[in-house]
């Protein structure tokens, strides 16, 4: 078993002022060359988890305890200068809305030059590197892109620019926070294909955040399922899709539109809404919506246990699904 590229241990994220828990004691690893999908609804804490790796938590939110170990350092306690040197360089991130994530009054070329500048790589080769980066992500007329502004491009193109920006220094880990959610379905597919291709070429690891289990189907090796600030299930792609153990994961799968099934079957939604993480610290957060819930579930928090198929946090596992 090789050493993990990045190891998150007992990470807890809270609001700064009133210490409301947003992410509750989660742990996971990403190995070199591996792609991990983090799936959960909004409010599950998946985005905050991703942001905390790079130290980009918004104002008013702090990582209160735990470790994020990368390359023999704990990123949570490392110096700001060290973290800065990693951003965009060894660990990169792409974001959900390419329109707001790019500086609207700065030329696209310059925005990429900045990555090089931040890591003291701005030399005579820089323009060629940026040009190549644009070409690499499939932007037609890269020389025009160099001097264009974000609003002159479509959503899909902007996302490609973001990917170019994230990949230009060949990071070891790419964190992607729902980069396809704001795009049309056909463009989504293109972007997913692009990212897979990049991954294949460079062998980088990936942490892919999404609310849509279907998106990660052809993309990742392992899946982490989050709910109300906790990890409720972890498993390989195959295990999760064929034998989910946690009722929530099961529900997620059941709610995916299946292309091979006749359209007459209705989509199954899980009734109810996810609770706020800080309100459910002493019980199973999913219990109000769970068909299998018993008294135990309302009074104690189940921990992640290894089952026959996956690691799930539930007192009643599903076993083999039909």
């Amino acid at each position: 078993m090789s050493k993990p590229l990045i190891e998150v241990k007992n990470l807890t994220i809270e609001t700064a002022e009133d210490s409301r828990t947003l992410v509750n004691d989660i742990s996971f690893e990403v190995f070199p060359g591996e792609a991990v999908g983090v799936v959960g609804e909004s409010g599950s804490g998946k985005t905050l988890t991703a942001l905390s790796i790079l130290g980009l938590l918004p104002r008013g939110v702090v990582a209160r305890s735990g470790e994020i170990n990368y390359s023999d350092s704990n990123l949570l306690t490392a110096s700001e200068e060290y973290r800065r040197s990693i951003r965009g360089n060894q660990i990169s991130m792409i974001y959900q809305d390419p329109m707001t994530a790019l500086n609207p009054v700065m030329k696209l070329g310059k925005q990429l030059f900045e990555v090089l500048e931040a890591h003291d790589l701005l030399d005579s080769e820089a323009p060629q590197r940026v040009f190549n980066a644009f070409k690499e992500v499939g932007i037609p007329e890269p020389d025009r892109a160099l001097v264009s502004y974000p609003h002159e491009f479509s959503g899909g193109m902007r996302q490609r620019v973001m990917i170019a920006m994230a990949m230009i220094l060949s990071p070891k880990l790419l964190i992607a926070d729902e980069p396809t959610t704001a795009l049309d379905v056909t463009i989504q597919q293109q972007i997913l294909a692009l990212v897979s291709e990049q991954r294949r070429k460079t062998g980088m690891s990936m942490l892919w955040i999404t609310h849509d289990l279907g998106v990660v189907a052809n993309l990742v090796d392992r899946v982490i399922v989050m709910y109300a600030g906790r990890i409720v299930e972890v498993g390989t792609l195959k295990e999760i899709f064929t034998n989910p153990q946690h009722p929530y994961t099961h529900g997620l799968l059941a709610s995916l539109p299946k292309s091979h099934v006749k359209s007459r079957e209705r989509l199954m939604a899980i009734p109810g809404v996810p609770p706020k993480p800080w309100l459910v610290e002493n019980s199973c957060a999913f219990s109000p919506r769970c068909t299998r819930a018993t008294t135990e579930c309302f009074n104690e928090t189940p921990s992640l246990k290894l089952n026959d198929f996956t690691k799930a946090a539930c007192f009643h596992e599903i076993g083999t699904s039909q």
Binding site: L56, P58, Y95, P104, E114, Y149
Partner: protein, 320 residues
């Protein structure tokens, strides 16, 4: 594309011209219609100085004996052809007067605006760095006081402290243009520029602070940090640069405002600018001077607003 842009500018110019027309009518009404016979009344006061022929000349110039509408037209046509009337107590044409007073006011307004903008942006940035903190409180307190303490109070305080207590008051000497005596000129501009600067700094600081706070929460700032840029680079190149638009707009407005709002400061610090020209003319009941000077001022103000408008369209590439 080209065509649309030109017609956009043309439309705005037309709008500006209509506004200027409205302004001239407004000025005319305010200064002529309301008091009625005051002009003849004041002419009466000065009768001792003028010959009957000169009085008739003036009456004709003002068009007093004609109906109101014609009075307006005779004024506006004279104005547009460069005849701004003259101050009958000295016989000097308003055009000449303005020629020497306007540069003074412009110089003052420039210094005031520049110092105010620098102060305002600096304090705004200082405040915005930690909103809700002690430094923010003091920054906002400054903004509030700068706004609330009237310019004439500040000026009087400066005169009291500097002139009466320390005996340093360059404005007590005859005014020097920058070409006559640059050093003296700068000293004479010092205090009034500070007073005006403080007045300008207040709204600029507010605008800067709120623009910065709004920008800082935007997604692309997170992206900028995520690239590994240093905090200082992000603050200036991304946060400030994107906050510039409202700041530039506010600066333009302030500059235009200073041109006329400097009246009080010009009086206290004995600067022979446009504001003082108007004030003196009002006190001496020189209506021609007041009317033409105010009109000139309004034209300037409207022009500055137009220029500001054009500038911020250039800064923001999103507006085409």
């Amino acid at each position: 594309m080209r065509l649309a842009k030109t017609s956009g500018i043309a439309a705005r110019l037309l709008s500006v011209l209509i506004t200027l027309f409205g302004i001239s009518v407004f000025i005319f009404i305010v200064l002529r219609v309301i008091p009625g016979d005051t002009i003849t009344g004041s002419l009466g006061i000065e009768t001792g100085v003028l010959t009957p022929e000169q009085i008739d000349d003036l009456k004709r110039y003002y068009g007093i004996d004609k109906p109101l509408l014609l009075q307006y037209f005779s004024w506006i046509t004279s104005f547009l052809s460069g005849d701004l009337g003259f101050a009958y107590s000295t016989g000097v044409s308003v055009l000449t007067l303005t020629g020497s007073s306007l540069p003074v006011t412009i110089e003052l307004a420039l210094f005031g605006t520049i110092s105010g903008v620098i102060m305002g942006i600096a304090i705004g940035m200082f405040s915005a760095k930690k909103p809700g903190s002690a430094r923010d409180f003091f920054g906002q307190l400054f903004g509030l006081l700068a706004l609330a303490i009237p310019g004439f109070v500040l000026s009087t305080a400066i005169v009291t402290i500097m002139a009466n207590k320390f005996g340093y008051f360059p404005n007590g000497y005859e005014y020097m243009t920058p070409w006559e005596d640059l050093w003296m000129n700068l000293q004479q501009m010092l205090f009034p520029s500070i007073v005006l600067g403080i007045a300008v700094a207040a709204p600029v600081m507010r605008t800067t602070r709120s623009a910065l706070l709004e920008t800082v929460d935007k997604d692309f700032i997170r992206t900028a940090f995520g690239k590994g840029l240093k905090s200082r680079t992000v603050q200036f190149r991304h946060v400030l640069r994107n906050s510039l638009i409202p700041i530039v707009t506010m600066t333009g407005i302030q500059f235009g405002y200073l041109l006329g709002g400097a009246v009080i400061v010009e009086k206290i610090f004995a600067l022979p600018g446009m504001g003082r020209q108007i004030l003196d003319a009002i006190n001496k009941r020189e209506y021609a001077t007041v009317q033409s000077s105010v009109m000139i001022f309004a034209i300037l103000f409207v022009t500055i607003n137009l220029v500001t408008d054009i500038i911020y369209r250039r800064i923001d590439p999103r507006i085409k």
